[in-house]
Each structure stands twice: as structure tokens, then as C-alpha cells.
């Protein structure tokens, strides 16, 4: 059973903004990263998964349940962390999470027990009896995670869970996400604009931009796709680049006269060395480098143009 599958999912807001544009996708259980720049349609996609927003057209099933028709039934199995601050300052974490467990349909005793358990799980101990108004951003993020887990969901939807956290808090959060996915067997979809963060925990990546699917693939293949070899030479760099391209390498000019070679399935090292020896240019630097997210989109858009994008 796939975790989630969409067919031609489209969402247009009144006023003409298209948030999702013909998204077709099928995801297996695991930790899935949903990457895209701000306004790419990530939050809209999550809200449609929750059955909170009706798509303009297209179909979406989550956990084999039609999200557009059976919202409440589906939401029993979902946990959700919105990207914004959504906690009442005048309640304690214990009271809030217990109350939300009961709103999720748990009986009173179970709600109290699970709330205490989840708050411990996210690392809140004595603080949980204090009012949330006095919490740090990191503590609030933990409370949000606890409330999303309290009813034991099958799928956790996290919208920018590391927003506003300091590096230590970010690492704690990512570790909690990793544990939730790997040790508890709960699937996770993490929406983020920071590829470098979520690639630490994800097994699968979905990249969207402007509401369109750019690419959906396992993390390894993404890594392969986005890794480049940076080459700097002494001598006629432009001619060297031409020769590399002529030799069939996916090379292009980078910043400061460097040459970027996309690292695909066939390592280009031999060609780089041989062509340099032949032309008599000196190799100053040969280094592997990870592309930034913007570069990733360049690559994938080029892929789409060549009709190679993974429609999965």
C-alpha cells in the first residue's frame, strides 16, 4: 500500500494564484522530504493531505483514504505541525497536550498517560508544568511535536519544523524526526526550504517549485544528481571546457573560471585527467561539491526540458 498517491492534483486559489499544478506522485512509507523555495506550494500540499483544503481538481489518497472525501476519518491517523506558532501561552504543556489528545478521541486516562509519555519523549520534563508563554522556541517546537504524536498517528506532517531554531535546537529536532521515522515506524513528511537540513534525515525527496513537481526520487539518486566536480585549470580553460563537452561530459562553466561537471553514473575523472594531459593544461583543483538547492532546480529543470523528469 502506498503511503500517498496523487493524480493531477491542482489547487488554484481565488484570485488566480496556482499553488499546485498537476501534481502526480506516489510515495512509499518512510521519511520523505518535501523541498521547495518559499511559496512553492508545500504548505498547500500538506493542507490538502490533511483534508483541510479542497483541491481544485485531481485526486489524492493518503493511507488508502480519499483525503478530499473522508477528512475526519483520515485525520485520526495523521499528526500535523503547522509552520507557525500555534500554542496558547496561558496553558501548561501538560494541560494542552492532554486536552489535544482528548480532542483526538482518546479517553481521559489514556490521554493523560500518552501526553506525559510524549512530552518525555520530546525531552520536556519538569518544564511541562509551566505555562507555554514562558517557553523558548525550541521548547515550543517540542510541544508541537508532542501534540502531533500524542494520538499515535501513522503519518506525521511537519511544516518547516526547524524554523527559528538555533543550530543545537535544529539538530535535536532533526534527531527526533529521525527517531520517529526509524524507531517508531511512523512515516514522516517534512516540508522545508532547507535541503541541507532535511537531507540529514530523509530517505526520499520530493522537490516542487511553482506548484509543479520537479523531481521525486530516493535520497541517493538526488545526491548523485546534485553532486558536481569542480575543476580549475591553469591554461586555456574555455578550450578545455569545449574539449570536455566534446568528449561527452555534462560540463559547464562555473563561477570564477571554474568548470562544473555533473557527477552522474559514470565518473568523469579519467576523461578530466586525459584531456588535461593531452592539452597540456595544469589541473589546479579537482573537488567534489554538493550543489545548492538553486542549482538542483537548474539541473532538474534541464532534465524536464529533456523529458527525463521522474514522473514516478
Amino acid at each position: 500500500m502506498p503511503l500517498l498517491s496523487t493524480t493531477d492534483l491542482t489547487k488554484r486559489y481565488p484570485g488566480g494564484v496556482t499553488a499546485l499544478d498537476g501534481l502526480t506522485l506516489e510515495l512509499e512509507p518512510g521519511i520523505i522530504g518535501l523541498v521547495g523555495s518559499n511559496g512553492a506550494g508545500k504548505s498547500t500540499f500538506l493542507k490538502i493531505m490533511l483534508g483541510l483544503l479542497a483541491p481544485t481538481s485531481g485526486a489524492l489518497t493518503v493511507l488508502d483514504i480519499d483525503a478530499t472525501k473522508h477528512g475526519p476519518e483520515l485525520r485520526q491517523y495523521l499528526g500535523y505541525i503547522p509552520e507557525f506558532d500555534c500554542l496558547p501561552p496561558d496553558q501548561s504543556a501538560t494541560d494542552l497536550v492532554t486536552h489535544l489528545a482528548r480532542v483526538s478521541g482518546l479517553p481521559a486516562t489514556a490521554a493523560r498517560e500518552r501526553a506525559a509519555e510524549m512530552l518525555r519523549h520530546v525531552g520536556l520534563y519538569d518544564e511541562r508544568y509551566r505555562l507555554i508563554g514562558g517557553y523558548s522556541t525550541g521548547m515550543k517546537q517540542r510541544v508541537k511535536l508532542a501534540q502531533a504524536l500524542v494520538h499515535d498517528p501513522k503519518l506525521l506532517l511537519l511544516d518547516e519544523p526547524t524554523n527559528g531554531l538555533d543550530p543545537a535546537g535544529r539538530n535535536d529536532m532533526l534527531e527526533l524526526i529521525r527517531r520517529t521515522g526509524h524507531e517508531f515506524g511512523i512515516s514522516v513528511i517534512v516540508a522545508s526550504h532547507l535541503l541541507s537540513e532535511i537531507e540529514q534525515v530523509c530517505t526520499y525527496l520530493v522537490a516542487i517549485d511553482g506548484g509543479k513537481l520537479l523531481r521525486a526520487a530516493s535520497l541517493e539518486s538526488f545526491t548523485r544528481e546534485t553532486e558536481v566536480l569542480v575543476v580549475e585549470v591553469i591554461g586555456d580553460g574555455a578550450a578545455y571546457l569545449q574539449r570536455l563537452v566534446a568528449a561527452g561530459l555534462p560540463a559547464r562553466a562555473g563561477a570564477g573560471g571554474s568548470i562544473l561537471i555533473h557527477l552522474g553514473d559514470h565518473p568523469p575523472y579519467d576523461v578530466v585527467r586525459d584531456v588535461a594531459a593531452e592539452m597540456g593544461v595544469g589541473l589546479m583543483r579537482v573537488a567534489r561539491r554538493r550543489d545548492r538547492l538553486e542549482d538542483l532546480f537548474d539541473v532538474t529543470e534541464a532534465d524536464i526540458a529533456r523529458g527525463q523528469h521522474a514522473g514516478v
Partner: protein
Amino acid sequence: MPESEPAVGAIYDIGYQHYDGKRLGRRGAVRALYVQGLRSLFGIGRGGRAKIPPIALIAIMTIPALIQAALAGLTQGNFAVITHDGYFGTTVWMFGLFCAFQTPELVTGDQQNRVLALYFSRALLRSDYVLARIGALVTALFAVAMLPHIIMLLGEYFAAAHVLDAMKTSLPTIPRILAAAFAVSVLLATVSLTIAAIIKRRPFATVAILAFMLIAGAVVAPLVMSRPDKLRGLLLASPTFVGRGVSTWIFDTVKVHPPVDTSWRLPPMPRPASDADSATRAAWRQEQTRRWRTRPQSPVEAARFPGVVYVGAMVGYILIGAGVLALRYRRIDT
């Protein structure tokens, strides 16, 4: 179960348990929101300061009933400062204050702190949330409305020579007390919750409810009293007067009220000429006095609408409120 002081670095190592127990679904959700709403309306589970307004308002509302119960005991039920049918009319201002201070507690915080996002991502519909909140407010107002009547009934029973007879005498009044308290509670709950839901900020919501409940009433009352024949329609613009009208209508069917005089409809009497005989002057004075004594005591008496008008207005308020609430919560983007 809690372990002894967890070592730094190992704080998350407790293990995760899946939950296979009972799930109560939407009913559980509605119940949780209802109970939490009811508690917060009376300041339970909040700090001490949150308990002051509801307790003070309930106390003030109950004072006439306590006095009446005490008087019933002293005079063996022969003297009444206040009766069941007039109670809502007398304490309506306190009801308005209770709505104004306590209703925003139910909904403004959820909107302002964006807790709604956490509610609506759970297994319930938006209408479930609205129903749970209205239910909590109706229950609270109903309890507040019933308390003085219960005190007065107990006073009557204790004062009576024969308790069972007193109970029998009060029997036809009790369903009317219940009906009036329920009608007024539903009406005021819907109106004040609608206002609180539209206006996001708590202090503004309080002011708006006060304005609609009390200030509108205060403006309308003298106008209706001065020209009931022309301006009585204004009375329906005030939900508190609609509530008083419904309550009066419910009790009037048992003739608790003396029949209201309609002398205001009579043409004004010209003062007799100074050379008129004393009998004419005396008759004029007598008629003037009679008119003054039997003048309407409240805008509801002055307007003399049939009960169906008030009931219709009440249903109108409830339907409009429910419609606005449904639209409002459908639109909230979480």
C-alpha cells in the same frame, strides 16, 4: 514509567509505545471541546483572577433571589419583591455582562493563538467545534439562569406550611422556568458567540457584545416607551429585549402578569378649562392618575407585541448567528 534522573544525552531513551486503545472519534472531540469550554467559562483550570468575573456576576444575579427566599421565609410567602416571571427582566443586564466577559474566552484565544490549526487537523469537522462551543455557552448560561429560580423555589418550599402543597402549586411554573431559561440561553449564546467569533481580539469582542446586548437596549428602551405606537419595532433590534419578550410570553400564558393596560393608545385628554365645574376637574384628575398608575412598566409591556413576534425574532437571531458562524469558520485558514 519515569526513570530515575535521566543522564544528559540519554534523555530521549525511553522507548515509544504504540496506542491500541479505544478511540472515541468525533464524539470524543466534541465532548473534550465542550467540557474544556464549560470549564473555562467559569474560570476553572485557569488562574484565580479568571474566576473573579463569572463568580461576581453570578453572585450579583443571585442576590434578588436570596432576598426573596429570605422574605418568603419571614412573611410565609405573602410578600414578593421579585417573581419567577420577572427575574430575567430584572437581571438581564448581568446576563449581558456575563456574555460580554466570558464568551470571548471560548473562541478568541483559539483564533488569536492559532490553536484552531491544531484542532482542525484532528478528527473533527469545523461545525463540530462550533457546536461544542455553543453547547458549552448555552449550558453555562442555562445554569446561571436557573440558579436563582432554584433558590427561590427552595425558599417557597421552606416557607410553606405544607411543603407538598407548595410543590404542587409551583408545578405549572417549573416547565415555564425551564423553557424561558433555555430559550434565553440559546438566544444570547448564539448572538454573543457570533460577535466574539467575528471580532478576533478579546477586549474588542467584549465591548462589541456589551454594545449590542446592553447599549442597544438602553438606547431603544426610552424610545419605545415614549412612542410605543410608532417605534415599538425598534425593540426587536435588541436581543436582550427579544429575550425578555420571549420570557414574558412564556410566563404570561399562566397569567402570572396582571393584564397590561393599553391606555397609552387613548388620545391625550385636554386639561379642562379653568371655569369648568369641580366634577369635571376631578374626573380629569382621576383619569390622569389612572393612566399614570397603569402606564407600561417596561418597553416589552409598552410594545405589546404578540408572543409570536418575539419568538420569530429569536429564531431569526439564532439562524443568522448560526449562518454567520458557519461561514466564519469555513473561511478561517489554518
